[in-house]
């Protein structure tokens, strides 16, 4: 009995000791964005990616060692969510920040700037000469969010029409033509559910309505009263009768439907789809095209938090410059089929243009998600419109 009691007491003490020694929740970081343990090397930076997916993360895991060896800086590549990083940054004091370079989506940039998180002005930074390759207007705002030179585009991701060229020799050139010819591909038009975690289905619905003339720059209340809205909704419902059912619950299911040739044509992220094709997840014959009415266009931006120590900021700027170099950007486009952050497409090989529409065509009609209310409506009611 006594030994049992002793054993229990020792166990309880050990557990308490372990619990006491572990860091408090406030000190620890959550998710996969925790700061890696400091390296013994002097020159090391932490680069946090809040914008990437499986494709870009794989790309970074191959690219970062190259950057490390060329720059002589150890680069800790970590992934995390925008909201979580925002929490961390807002708690850090000047000179004590532990995040040196950030990759953010436009809304992430906007939220952080709005929350008063300070970022370095990258425009005119002597350590980043490659910034001259970026379209000047893109240094002023991130898809409608004023950045004033504090964020620089690293890539432009783009939705477009993806189709199996073995099944569709002559793809449609507009939503109207797609609608008119829907009978040719009845039961083979793919879409992700609009109530999925992925926004792909909602974006497709939004882009279809856009193609039928709905003006999303107006307030949603006004939009709903327009004839274009009523016509667009009716046409969408009619169009959806030709969709492959059930709709894909998430992107991997859409890809599986493509692979099994249930789906021949859809609208989705060009880069992710073509990258998945290269990974053998989709038929080799999958290609992309673009409608002049436009498709959703997103981007990812690089930024340097001001709270990092000054010595770190210099290294961070060198890394940003490396990321904006023509070699890195062309390599990214060749690997990921994602449009570059810099505006220098002369040296992009022809093979890329055989797969994706030219930037000149795309950039004219890239449409960001600029109407939150309409987007929420599609999220909540979008599935009711599918017949």
């Amino acid at each position: 009995m006594k030994s049992m009691l002793k054993l229990c007491a020792v166990m309880t003490l050990s557990v308490s000791l372990i619990a006491g020694c572990s860091s408090s929740p406030a000190e620890s970081t959550t998710g996969n964005a925790s700061k890696p343990s400091p390296e013994p090397q002097n020159q090391s930076i932490t680069f946090i990616d809040t914008a990437g997916g499986a494709n870009t993360q794989k790309f970074f895991s191959e690219m970062i060692p190259k950057a490390s060896s060329e720059l002589g800086i150890k680069i800790n590549y970590v992934t995390g969510s925008g909201a979580e990083i925002q929490q961390r940054l807002s708690a850090q004091k000047q000179g004590e920040g532990d995040i040196d370079v950030l990759l953010l989506k436009p809304d992430g940039v906007g939220n952080m700037i709005e929350a008063g998180i300070p970022f370095e002005t990258l425009e005119n930074n002597p350590e980043i000469p490659n910034i001259s390759l970026v379209e000047p207007s893109e240094l002023k705002d991130a898809l409608g969010i004023a950045t004033n030179g504090k964020a620089v585009p690293f890539w432009h991701d783009q939705f477009g029409i993806l189709y199996n060229s073995d099944k569709i020799k002559n793809p449609p050139k507009s939503w109207d033509e797609f609608y008119e010819r829907r009978g040719e591909w009845a039961g083979h038009i793919g879409m992700i559910r609009s109530d999925a975690k992925s926004g792909g289905g909602r974006i497709m619905q939004r882009d279809i309505l856009l193609g039928y003339g709905v003006d999303f720059s107006k307030p949603f209340e006004t939009i709903q009263k327009t004839a274009e809205w009523t016509n667009g909704i009716n046409k969408f419902s009619e169009f959806s009768k030709a969709f492959f059912k059930p709709l894909a619950s998430e992107p991997p299911v859409l890809f599986q439907q493509f692979a099994s040739e249930d789906v021949w044509i859809t609208e989705y992220a060009i880069d992710y789809t073509l990258w998945s094709r290269d990974q053998g997840l989709l038929p080799k014959s999958v290609k992309s095209t673009f409608f002049p009415s436009g498709h959703y266009g997103g981007a990812a931006y690089l930024a340097i938090p001001t709270n990092a120590p000054d010595s770190q900021k210099e290294l961070a700027a060198k890394f940003v410059n490396w990321m904006l170099s023509e070699e890195t950007q062309v390599n990214m486009m060749e690997t990921l089929w994602i449009y570059m952050g810099i505006n220098k497409y002369d040296n992009v090989p022809q093979t890329v243009w055989n797969n994706v529409p030219s930037w000149d065509v795309v950039k004219k009609s890239r449409i960001p998600l600029n109407n939150n209310e309409a987007y929420t409506f599609l999220k909540e009611k979008g599935m009711d419109l599918v017949k």
Binding site: M1, L5, C8, M11, T12, K197, P246, E250, P252, A259
Partner: protein
């Protein structure tokens, strides 16, 4: 002079206190885990379920909305159909398989390993794999349409209700199989032989000896399968098509619509339904095994 009976009482009460303390100490780590990882989150979920999305106080509104919606009754119905069908199917697979395997037929070790296979693969991977295997151009359909002369059309399994039950059974029946097998292997063969010697036919031996004696294993295995099927998430999300059970509805409410109060109310409803069903099931199977 001290009363011997009072001394005995003091000894008993001291012993009782000592035992209580020891019990408490032994229970302590388990209790901490149970309270910290189950009771506390459950309380948070329950409190959350009573709030409304704009956080203007507490009410039963989420429950009223959910229980008065035909859509959610349909979701509850699908969840039960999937879980119950999977459980029945898993028992139907488990019993004959266990009866064969107890005889140590040739290759029984390999079959036992095969049974364990679904447990070693992540549900998400399994779901995607099953979609590929059962696809119209998948291995199963290729075999059926190209090898068997009397089948022209590929079987439509993916995104159907019976297809989903099949996927569930593949993933969750190993629990029923293993527990049934272990309880059947634990039956004293002499009892069955005695019944045979006294004139019982093989079916009667099975009906009156083997089945009742293996009931505990079948019951615990099927409960395990039922609970896993009731709480399955990855498989219906990926391979369920329009058949979206409670777990997927909770995920959609929380993860897509960011409506945590409604998702919490759904989770509480799910938990209550699960407990009620298990209690009924235990009561029914207990009665049967007692009979």
């Amino acid at each position: 002079m001290r009363n011997p009976s009072s001394g005995f009482l003091i000894f008993i009460s001291m012993q009782f206190k000592k035992d209580n303390l020891l019990t408490l100490l032994l229970l302590f780590p388990g209790l901490v885990f149970f309270i910290g990882l189950f009771i506390y989150p459950l309380c948070i979920t329950f409190t959350n379920s009573l709030t409304i999305s704009n956080h203007t106080g507490y009410s039963l509104q989420n429950y009223i909305d959910l229980l008065s919606s035909a859509k959610y009754w349909n979701v509850i119905g699908i969840t039960f159909v999937l879980a119950i069908s999977t459980t029945i199917l898993s028992v139907l697979i488990a019993l004959p398989l266990a009866l064969i395997l107890r005889k140590r037929v040739k290759g029984h070790t390999f079959i036992r390993l095969l049974i364990l296979l679904p447990l070693t693969v992540l549900a998400l991977i399994s779901a995607l794999g099953l979609l590929i295997v059962w696809d119209k151009n998948g291995w199963v359909n290729l075999f059926l349409t190209q090898v068997l002369p009397f089948i022209d059309e590929p079987l439509k399994i993916n995104y159907t209700l019976y297809g989903l039950i099949l996927f569930y059974a593949w993933l969750y029946s190993p629990h029923t199989i293993l527990m049934t097998l272990s309880s059947i292997e634990g039956i004293d063969r002499n009892v069955e032989q005695a019944a045979t010697i006294t004139g019982a036919k093989p079916f009667e031996v099975f009906r009156y000896i083997t089945l009742p004696l293996s009931m505990s294993g079948i019951r615990s295995g099927s409960v395990m399968t039922f609970l896993l099927a009731f709480g399955a998430f990855n498989v219906p999300l990926i391979a369920g098509g329009n058949y979206r059970p409670l777990t997927v509805a909770i995920y959609t409410e929380a993860g897509v619509f960011n409506n945590w109060p409604k998702a919490s109310a759904l989770a509480i409803i799910m938990g209550i339904l699960e407990i009620i069903f298990i209690l009924i099931y235990f009561k029914l199977t207990k009665k049967r095994s007692a009979a």
